[in-house]
């Protein structure tokens, strides 16, 4: 099952990201996972929060372009080859990975990575049938 993430378009100006995190702090929003993809001029912040719709409203109110998108939250065995096993399943099925990032803390001793692939539905089914753990929002707290 996919989890909801918040994606935010950020113009690459000094202080812009700090303005965003301040806004989240003021509203008591906790980041469970976060990453930024960037070019020279702008970036896209992706993050996992417990109330994505509300977070999007807060960010939009603060002048940010934010939207709710979906990613797979994949539990990875915390040992060498853990990530490789998951990627191999997708690779064998010809599914490309667009990006991955991990939670800020490990969850019950497990690593959890957020993953966007070229075919989310098939990836989800494949990973489930291979007994790879897919986390829910609650489990990411």
């Amino acid at each position: 099952m996919a989890v909801k993430q918040v994606s935010v378009f950020i113009e690459n100006e000094t202080g812009r990201l700090a303005a965003l995190t301040q806004l989240l702090a003021e509203h008591g929003v906790d980041l469970n996972a976060a990453t930024i993809a960037e070019t020279g001029e702008y970036g896209i912040l992706r993050c996992i929060v417990q109330n994505p719709e509300e977070t999007v409203r807060i960010l939009s109110g603060g002048g940010f372009m934010a939207s709710v998108t979906e990613v797979l939250a994949v539990g990875i065995d915390n040992r060498p080859g853990g990530l490789n096993r998951v990627l191999q399943i997708l690779s064998d099925a010809g599914i490309g990975v667009k990006y991955i990032y991990s939670t800020i803390q490990s969850i019950k001793g497990e690593a959890v990575i957020m993953m966007k692939t070229g075919d989310q539905n098939r990836a989800e089914k494949l990973l489930e049938s291979a007994d790879v753990k897919l986390c829910t929002m609650d489990e990411l707290k």
């Binding site: 378009f9 113009e11 070019t39 702008y42 896209i44 939207s67 998108t69």
Partner: protein, 433 residues
């Protein structure tokens, strides 16, 4: 050297008599050959025979750039295509350019006008004229070229770009006169300095620069950097191209070729003619053109006229430098840019809002233009590729319509101030003295 003493040094009465005769011919010709203008005259209740004195020109309706857009491409042509030997073009206010056609006679008159300007730089038949304006639909290159040929000089049709090669030809072919945009002249001057070439070793002695606004400090840098005297040349495609007016060695206004182009200054609000010396919008009537004659064409350029004999000996009326525009046209890298053109591009993308801002700047003598535009509300952006791809598509579409590169910067929806009334779409950070 004065190329055409009879026309350039005529006494006032002789010139005015010639202008009246040619104005009457032009108005009659326009009335008979251009239905769009005839309809405008009918609507204004004026007939060709009502033009009895030069002052009667004020009875005639204006031609605006909108008339060209409405009659795109050739609706204002007064001759069938078989008599048109050349097409030139410049940007229109929308996606469609302005198209101007020239008869053989129009081409000769254009060459004559530019030849007079080259002579004002001190050029003669023994000189080599180095043309580094762009060649093509833009009138700069081929206009300067025509003038140099009329003069009987040796033409180097360099076109623009490849600065190292420009300098090589300048050295090896001993160019005497340079024709290009002032910003390109500055680029060449800087390259000469970087190459460690002493400007005194270059034969070049004067330059004819136009097609864009420039500053006194640019003039000084060009003059010093190339060891030349810089002259201003003014023109617009609708009237003919460069050569409508040129500054002489006195550098006190540009002499208008007024046997070919009749100037007026009007109040841009009331459109009433203003007396000489007062600043207003420059309006031109072509006096000999037959391909696309223009009666009272509103240039949108703001300047004033100077009468009286110049220290160079010419008696022709002079125009001051252009102080600004009465519309929102920008000149960037010598190319006309209208915000409305940019708007037509933005409107094609559902991902963007129509809130935008155009930022023009000049660094190191070279113009830059940047478009800031907002992403539409509710657009889901989770992918750098999407943003990069959007940027490529918008930049490509802009280049197609503007003919110059324009950098695109995306903003969050709602970032740009929503204006009440007329939006401020353009920020021009270039300094004009």
């Amino acid at each position: 050297m004065i190329w055409n003493k009879e026309m350039e040094c005529a006494d006032r009465e002789t010139m005015r008599a010639l202008q009246l005769e040619r104005l009457q011919e032009t108005v009659k010709y326009e009335y008979e050959h251009v239905p769009h203008y005839a309809a405008k005259m009918d609507k204004a209740g004026v007939k060709p025979e009502d033009i009895v004195t030069l002052e009667d020109i004020a009875l005639l309706p204006f031609i605006n750039k909108e008339d060209l857009a409405e009659n795109y491409p050739t609706g204002l042509f007064a001759q069938p295509m078989e008599n048109i030997v050349r097409i030139q073009s410049s940007s229109g206010t929308t996606g469609k350019p302005k198209i101007i056609g020239y008869t053989k006679g129009d081409m000769e008159d254009w060459g004559e006008a530019v030849a007079r300007g080259l002579a004002m730089c001190g050029a003669g038949p023994n000189d080599t004229v180095h043309v580094a304006y762009g060649y093509g639909l833009f009138t700069g290159g081929l206009g300067a070229h025509a003038g140099a040929e009329t003069l009987g000089a040796t033409v180097l049709p360099m076109s623009t770009g490849n600065t190292a090669r420009q300098i090589m030809f300048m050295q090896d072919m001993k160019s005497d006169i340079l024709c290009c945009t002032p910003s390109y002249a500055l680029t060449i001057a800087e390259a000469v300095e970087r190459a460690g070439i002493d400007p005194a070793d270059l034969q070049i002695r004067a330059g004819l620069f136009g097609a864009e606004p420039w500053t006194q400090s640019m003039r000084e840098k060009i003059e010093k950097g190339l060891g030349i005297r810089a002259h201003d040349i003014y023109g617009l495609t609708e009237i003919t191209g460069p050569g409508v007016a040129t500054s002489c060695e006195a550098n006190n206004g540009m002499h208008i070729q007024e046997d070919l182009f009749y100037p007026e200054i009007v109040d841009p609000n009331t459109l009433k003619p203003l007396p000489p010396g007062e600043t207003g919008e420059l309006v031109f009537t072509t006096l000999k053109k037959r391909g696309v004659p223009m009666v009272r064409y509103r240039t949108r350029d703001i300047c004033y006229l100077m009468e009286g004999k110049c220290s160079c000996g010419r008696t022709s009326v002079r125009m001051s430098r252009v102080f600004g525009r009465t519309d929102d046209m920008l000149i960037v890298k010598g190319v006309n840019v209208f915000p409305s053109q940019v708007e037509t591009v933005i409107a094609k993308f559902n991902e963007l809002t129509l809130n935008y801002k155009i930022l023009v700047d000049r660094k190191g003598g070279s113009d830059s233009i940047e478009l800031m535009v907002e992403f539409a509300e509710g657009l889901i952006i989770d992918d750098i590729d999407f943003v990069e791809n959007m940027r490529k598509r918008v930049e490509h579409a802009l280049r197609e319509i503007l003919q110059i590169g324009c950098k695109v910067r995306f903003l969050n929806a709602g970032t740009l101030p929503r204006s009440e009334g007329k939006a401020v779409r353009v920020e021009d950070r270039r300094k004009y003295e």
